[in-house]
Amino acid sequence: MGTLSLGPDPRPMISLLKFAARILVILTLGGFLGATLVRLAPGYGVDQEELDFRLSSSSIQFLRQADSPNVSLFTFYARYMLGLLHGNLGYSRNLQEPVRQLLAERLPETLKSVTLALVLGWMAGLSLAMAAALARNGLLSAAASLLASIMLCIPAAVLALLFVDAQLPGRLVLALIVFPKIFQYARSLLNRSVALPHVLLAHARGAGGLRILLCHALPVAGPQLLALAGVSVSMAFAAAIPVEALCDLPGIGQLAWQAALGRDLVVLVNLTMIVTLVTVLANSAAELASRASRGGET
């Protein structure tokens, strides 16, 4: 998913319209590609209840007709988009509820998890990166690197299982997934910043560690850190799928997992579009903030 470029257009309204149009195109394409993948996957429209030996031949035929896609992919998608314009997100075949209701119930749960993960992940990652960049001895830096490396090596699903086993809050898993990436990028950026000549000069003149960090290193690394913020949002959303599924968190990640297993096309298309929207908005917001912090340079 690419980052949207707003361009150096001086007219803010036109820029905004262009931006909205691009988001719309990306969303439409993202949703359509998602629908295509699900629809073309082997076994779409097949129900395991067909193997129920109590069912008569006519009931099996009825099940097959009910499950089989009776319209083409393009027709399905056109109908879906038309419904979307009227606020109708469709009906979940597996959960037997309107998708709108499912999302309304589950989106806040995921937003809560992702927000907590981002806050904790960033606080931990950035704090350790700052500490590592400023530490005189390498012990803290090595320990933090080791911790981050371990976290990077453990797959999200395994981490989630460990948390379930230890009866720890599942939401923390997302924070532990975000943390090592933040730490590694932030440390590298801060290390580069503190090695710049003017920062070294400030250090030589006796400036305190915190002052160096806040006044010299962070402003230099700021734009890249803001870009990292955008990426971390997408990262947390992506990780929410296995984590919510395994830790029994009733968010949209769990919904996506169940929809994928049950080939629930309508739910999957909606979720694809939500994830696309979040990614595009987060990346664009990060880019905007990054530009603003650089004083509007392009």
Binding site: V46, L55, S56, Q96, L134, P169, G170
Partner: protein, 545 residues
């Protein structure tokens, strides 16, 4: 670095990690367990999946109930019943002063309405299909408020037993299908996450001391597709039982909490492998000829070490399968059949009769084709994957190369029911029915679930024609000894022809918390909570079950 900054970092990491999961305080008298998926329907007549069946069992009131322990029918909403000589009509005498969960009175009119709806062909109810023995209308005759006769167009074997699956619905309740007669009623459904059932305040049953049943106030059912997580939650005491655990988890539970693991003995379920014999399947002609050969199928069967499958794959919690009826079904199993031998030399002799030759460790057919084929099974089922691997080794012993292909379940079903693009398939049959008549849709050659060659216009082989005749004959008489003789003969034909190569019958394994009392595990589903209204929770936990 200042100590205060270090303290801040410590707090940042340790506080959240130390925070234990805030398990929402569970009500003391609430039973908790998991199902693997969201129920597809709450309409008791349209149940096709296990999750919906669970809800139907817990909420639906039935006229007669099969005692899963004694395997005998017991009165429920009907105090007595009688099937007439023709096997077409059943008469019920109903209980008085019974009310649905919403307070609507129950009467014979509700039974009539339920049966008419159930038997409506347009509804396509699996429970209704079980009653469908011939064309024609079902006639319900209400004989007063508490008596009803139901007449079917043709005799229905095991007629009374089928009513165990029929949840009576209200003909007049404003709440429609949500008004129930079972021990619980649905209070909340968080789709895909959990369901909450509350005690039905109008449930009819009382214990011997006259106390109203059920004892447990509410049932929380969590939707948990991951079996590993389910086991972890059980070990943490977060759920009270696991209705069906697999062999590996059973051993794990037995080691960690011996009193919670229950092996109720061989179940009715079986694992089997079959060859694709569909004439139009996209397979080379020489392979179709192999699969159609009885000698070939029997040779494959004889080269499989079923004892080893039971011992290694199922850790001793399974038994070599003999017939399509499990030995657990004591009445219908044909005890004259002896276990299939593990005899690779005998298998090679059978293959030689068909012109196969073993040369340099590889088997060749008459036309010089190397004998190799693939078996498909569902991905993620560790036991089937392990069985396939052991079969692969067994077949290598007679020079056959077996390729194992694991597929997502939906893709697998697509192949075995629509495209027929497969050579052999390894799958299981989940069975709850003691009466073999329930498997008519497997054994009739015209049936969709006649997996090796479904929906035949006329039987492809003489032995399939004979099975058709015998299955139809047993379905048309209520003479039990005659039916037994005919079903025994079908078992013998299947034993000889091996269209399905039966591998093992798994044991019914469960896990039950020691705080759940009055549990009487059964091999029939639902193994643990079939007597849900008599179960109770002991707050003190330990002790004997």
């Amino acid at each position: 670095m200042k100590p205060s900054f270090l303290r801040f970092l410590c707090v940042l990491f340790l506080v959240p990690l130390a925070a234990r999961a805030q398990s929402a305080g569970h009500p003391a008298n609430q039973l908790r367990f998991c199902i693997t998926s969201q129920p597809k329907t709450f309409d008791p007549q349209l149940v096709t999946d296990d999750a919906s069946e669970t809800i139907r069992y817990l909420t639906g009131g039935v006229l007669v109930r099969l005692n899963r322990s004694t395997q005998q029918l017991e009165p429920a909403l009907a105090t007595s019943w009688q099937v007439d000589r023709s096997g077409r009509t059943i008469r019920f005498v109903l209980r008085h002063d019974i009310y649905f969960s919403d307070g609507t009175p129950f009467s014979a009119a509700d039974v009539a309405w339920t049966m008419q709806r159930l038997m409506n062909p347009a509804l396509h109810s699996p429970a209704g299909d079980a009653f469908r023995s011939g064309e024609g209308r079902v006639v319900t005759q209400v004989i007063g408020k508490d008596r009803i006769a139901v007449t079917f167009p043709r005799p229905v074997v095991g007629l009374a037993r089928l009513f165990d699956q029929v949840a009576i619905m209200s003909a007049s309740s404003p709440h429609g299908g949500m008004a129930v007669l079972g021990p619980y009623c649905l209070a909340k459904n968080k789709a895909g996450s959990w369901l909450l059932l509350k005690r039905n305040p109008h449930y009819w049953k009382r214990d011997t001391a006259g106390h109203p049943l059920p004892y447990i106030d509410s049932v929380r059912i969590d939707v948990e597709p991951n079996r590993d997580i389910e086991v972890l939650r059980f070990l943490h005491g977060d759920i009270d039982f696991i209705n069906s655990v697999d062999a590996m988890d059973y051993d794990r539970l037995k080691a960690r909490a011996p009193s919670t693991a229950i092996d109720a003995g061989p179940s009715l379920d079986s694992e089997q492998v079959w060859f694709n014999q569909v004439p139009g399947a996209p397979l080379p002609a020489y392979k179709k000829a192999w699969f159609a050969s009885t000698d070939f199928r029997r040779a494959i069967s004889e080269s499989i070490d079923r004892q080893a499958l039971a011992r290694v794959v199922f850790r001793g919690h399974a038994h070599p399968a003999i017939s399509w009826i499990s030995p657990a079904d004591k009445y219908w199993f044909n005890a004259r059949l002896s276990p299939h031998p593990f005899d690779p030399h005998g298998a090679l002799r059978l293959l030689a009769q068909d012109g196969f030759q073993l040369r340099n460790g590889a088997l060749y057919d008459r036309g010089g084709h190397v004998v190799e084929f693939s078996v498909i099974t569902n991905a993620g089922n560790l036991y089937r994957e392990q069985m396939a691997t052991m079969i692969q080794q067994d077949l290598a012993g007679i020079g056959i190369r077996l390729r194992i292909v694991t597929l997502d379940f939906a893709s697998l079903i697509e192949r075995i029911t629509r495209t027929f693009d497969y050579e052999a398939c390894l799958l299981g049959l989940v069975n709850d029915e003691l009466d073999p008549d329930a498997q008519m849709n497997v054994w009739l050659s015209s049936a969709e679930n006649h997996q090796w060659n479904p929906s035949q216009k006329t039987p492809a082989t003489s032995w399939e024609a004979e099975i058709d005749r015998l299955m139809r004959a047993q379905a048309s008489t209520s003479d039990l000894s005659r039916r037994k003789a005919e079903v025994d003969r079908v078992q013998e034909i299947v034993f000889e022809q091996e269209p399905f190569i039966y591998l093992v019958n798994k044991d019914a394994l469960s896990a039950v918390s020691t705080r759940l009392r009055n549990v009487r595990p059964s091999v029939l589903r639902p193994q643990i909570y079939w007597n849900i209204d008599e179960l109770w929770l002991d707050a003190s936990g330990g002790g004997k079950r």
